[in-house]
Amino acid sequence: MDARRAPRAVIDPIVRKVGFFTPPDPIPFEFSPSANSLSPVMIPPPRHSSENHDINSRPSVTSPSGDETIAVSGSCNSILSELFPAPMLPAQSPKIGNGDGGGIVASSFPRGGFDLTVVKASGGVPVCKLTTVSVVNADSFAIDEREKPNKGGGSTMEGKDQAMNSKQKKDKSSKAERRALQEAQRAAKAAAKAEGNKASGTATSVNVKSAKAVKAPQKVDNTSVGASEKKGGDRPSEKDRKKDVPHPRMQYDDKSRVEKAKRRAVVNQTEARNRVELFRHLPQYEHGSQLPDLEAKFFQLDPVHPSVYKVGLQYLSGDISGGNARCIAMLQAFQDAIRDYTVPSEKTLVRDLTAKISSYVSFLIECRPLSISMGNAIRFLKSQIAKLPLTLSESESKSSLQSDIENFIYEKIILADKAIVEHAVTKIRDGDVLLTYGSSSAVEMILLHAYELGKQFRVVVVDSRPRLRGKLLLRRLVEKGLSCTYTHINAVSYIMQEVTRVFLGASSVLSNGTVYSGVGTACVAMVAHSFHVPVIVCCEAFKFHERVQLDSICSNELGDPDAISKVSGREDVNDLDAWANTENLQLLNLIYDATPSDYVSMIVTDYGMIPPTSVPVVVRKYSREQVWI
């Protein structure tokens, strides 16, 4: 964890409203009604001038001229509505000044405008379009100072805003900026002592600090924005590279980290609109906007190997989906990357290659968050790299790594699947009615193998929107000649009466026996349990994880909300086309859910059939095996 991270958690829960809610009563501002007012989250967003930049490239929605930043909130970025004192937020009113909102808000914006111009001047289209937020912080901070006298209702929030802003400011400053800040402070203190009759000494120093800080970070930020070519920007970029990979389960409601991640981002993701409050800690981006962008950049992006790039694009577009497929594709891309890799001079292979893999991983994360199996595979790869003896030559190391990856894929996925199939077919008897949900590669193999063995059974495939992956499974099964039934998940309690066994796949199984799988799996498992139908989960051992998750909320993945609002093939169903404009409507498209272990009868792995309570034993054994490899 970042030691500099401010303990925001202390302040947040007091005011954060979690869950679905209607926006509070309208506040008499003349801001555009179409502006998003998602969050009565009282955390004052650090103003983010990068968003300005993005938004300026789009037609601004409404709002008075000069208030480009308000327009920001009117357009696609919900984060912005947080970032800026959005019109509908009553909490922000003390900040903005009751009845004086226009004026003070506007007063902040010229600075924003200044930032914009500065940013624009700094260079065409840098790889990373986002500037640091410290600039913005300075603004809000300055405003805070001005607001100090009118602490109205919500003074706690304001105090918190202030504290947080100052902390955020500190977070975002890099070393150079902080040094500049320190200098400024010393100078200010000296000045303050000299003057000696300010209203509050701290206010002065703070003001001065803010003033100085504004200038210093701006300078530094511009350079860093300029793709770290200038010397002044070298330090932040180097630091960034050191902490290259964001924590894989980064909480996306932590502004400082989001901004840091954005600075490094290769893929230009835009935040989605109308985000559900409960899932604010998960990343949600507008889908479909990055693909052309990335395709255009294909030949420009040196840091990312073309195979990795290709795989990332395939993830983004949804061409590759399914735990095993994604994992294998990623590992094969890494194989290519390692094959083409050469150690730069004065660097050790181990460290440099690890850093390179980490950068690829962060690129892939930006395209689509990692699944747990991919995380395990990456950990394996990194441990193999770390274990390379230093005496090996570069080509030997590379070939050893490539064969390691090859073995991993073969043993942990292909052979494991064979073992799983062998174990699981013993549980299929003649006359069985087997139900499966979605499309799992392991379950498909089991069903086909059982059919080849001549067992008499029929299959019920349960499917659900929006991905409708069951259709693919259905097609493949019917081609081979199995007798199948197809239904949607809303009929699962109806069809469960006929079912004798339920076979489910899993994206991962956690240490407490919780099965983490595609959304809807928990529903099917619970219905099966209530009908006393045994639920068999088929999962390779490399997908097990020592983490524990109690609900589906704390860690998940958010998909494209537009997929929910549109029904493919039914153009007449278009009631939700304008959902983004509706303030009190949020669409939630979860990708995963967690099934508690009580509903799972048995887990079939390559180690055999185990009860859900024995997962930690397998995880322990598995990690021990890794050490021996």
Partner: protein, 357 residues
């Protein structure tokens, strides 16, 4: 009984395991016993046929039967002792040969009664235990062999003493004034109760009849000899008496990977009633009974048939449920008393994984 005879011949062979138990503990009608014996005769002859293939006079089945005739000895322990005898009387000269011989012997034993879980489990465990030793690293075959014999004997000893260990461990759970419900006649449970009586604990026992074996009668007889207050209840009266009961202790024919048990028919029923009335269900089972099965429901077991004597002739058109045992899922069991300690059902799988993987 003529009406029964045709049904008997149509059925697959009777589980020999239950015949043994019957012979030892049950109260049976002589007619049934005669039929049972006639049914088993082909079995014995087949086993001797296979043994004539062997060069030596040694036959593992004979050895097994010799041990098994002891009423106190668990079948699995008899198997273990027989397999240990195989090693000591083996004429093999290399380790591989010895292992092959052992494997053959173990397969023969398993084939003798395919329905007995503890037999299969014990044989497998024995093989793993013995062949996993570091003794195999020894260059000298003879010393390795003696090491193997040593381990085999030790395993036999442990298994034999398992009951004593279990009895000791379970003493803490029997408190003064408690009422225990037992089902049928399990030698392990009897050992537990015997030791408790010996330790001057004051408790009383409700003993189910245990149809169709009616082994409960034998148990009540034994317990009465120990001056333990015993009450016989018919199987249907379990729910009726469950209010007064403090705990249920049952044995097991086999403990499966999920942590559930396979035991005499009626155990599942008792466990269900006990669970719904919040009474703890304790299982006393030796560790060699841990088997690598994983039944999902009652029908998932290898069927073990045992004929039911209703005392009156049954018309041919009427079908009789003849299964001898049922499966109790782990959620109805509280604790397992084993020679490895007092365990929760989920530990069974951990132990099996450690042993087999």
């Amino acid at each position: 009984m003529e009406s029964e005879a045709p049904t008997m011949e149509n059925n697959p062979k009777i589980s020999a395991y239950y015949q043994t138990r019957l012979a030892h503990f049950g109260v049976v009608s002589t007619e049934w016993l005669a039929q049972a014996q006639s049914a088993t005769n082909p079995l014995l002859s087949s086993s001797t046929d296979s043994d004539t293939d062997k060069d030596t006079n040694f036959s593992v089945i004979d050895e097994f039967n010799r041990w098994r005739s002891h009423p106190d000895l668990a079948e699995a322990v008899a198997a273990i002792r027989a397999l240990a005898a195989v090693i000591s009387s083996s004429k093999a000269s290399t380790m591989m040969q010895l292992e092959i011989e052992l494997k053959n012997a173990s397969d023969t034993l398993k084939a003798w009664d395919t329905t007995s879980i503890s037999l299969t489990a014990a044989s497998d465990l024995f093989m793993r235990y013995v062949t996993r030793t570091s003794a195999l690293e020894f260059e000298d075959f003879n010393s390795a062999k003696s090491r193997l014999i040593e381990r085999a004997d030790k395993f036999g000893e442990i298994s034999y003493k398992a009951r004593k260990i279990i009895a000791m461990l379970s003493q803490d759970f029997i408190f003064d004034g408690c009422t225990i419900l037992v089902h049928g006649f399990s030698r392990v449970v009897f050992e537990v109760l015997k030791l408790a009586a010996h330790n001057k604990k004051r408790f009383r026992v409700f003993c189910t009849e245990g149809r169709p074996d009616r082994t409960g009668l034998r148990l009540s007889h034994e317990l009465a000899k120990l001056d333990v207050p015993v009450k016989l209840v018919i199987d249907s009266a379990v729910a009726y008496t469950m209010d007064e009961v403090d705990m249920v202790i049952v044995g097991a024919d086999g403990v499966v990977e999920s942590g559930g048990i396979i035991n005499m028919m009626g155990t599942y029923q008792i466990a269900l009633v006990a669970k719904s009335m919040n009474k703890p269900v304790y299982v006393a089972a030796e560790s060699y009974k841990f088997a690598r099965h994983y039944p999902l429901d009652q029908k998932d077991l290898v069927p073990a048939i045992r004929p039911v004597d209703f005392g009156v002739p049954i018309p041919l058109k009427v079908d009789v449920e003849c299964s001898a045992r049922d499966y109790t899922p782990p959620q109805y069991l509280t604790l397992l008393f084993t020679d490895l300690g007092v365990l929760t059902p989920s530990v069974v799988s951990d132990e099996l994984i450690q042993l087999y993987l």
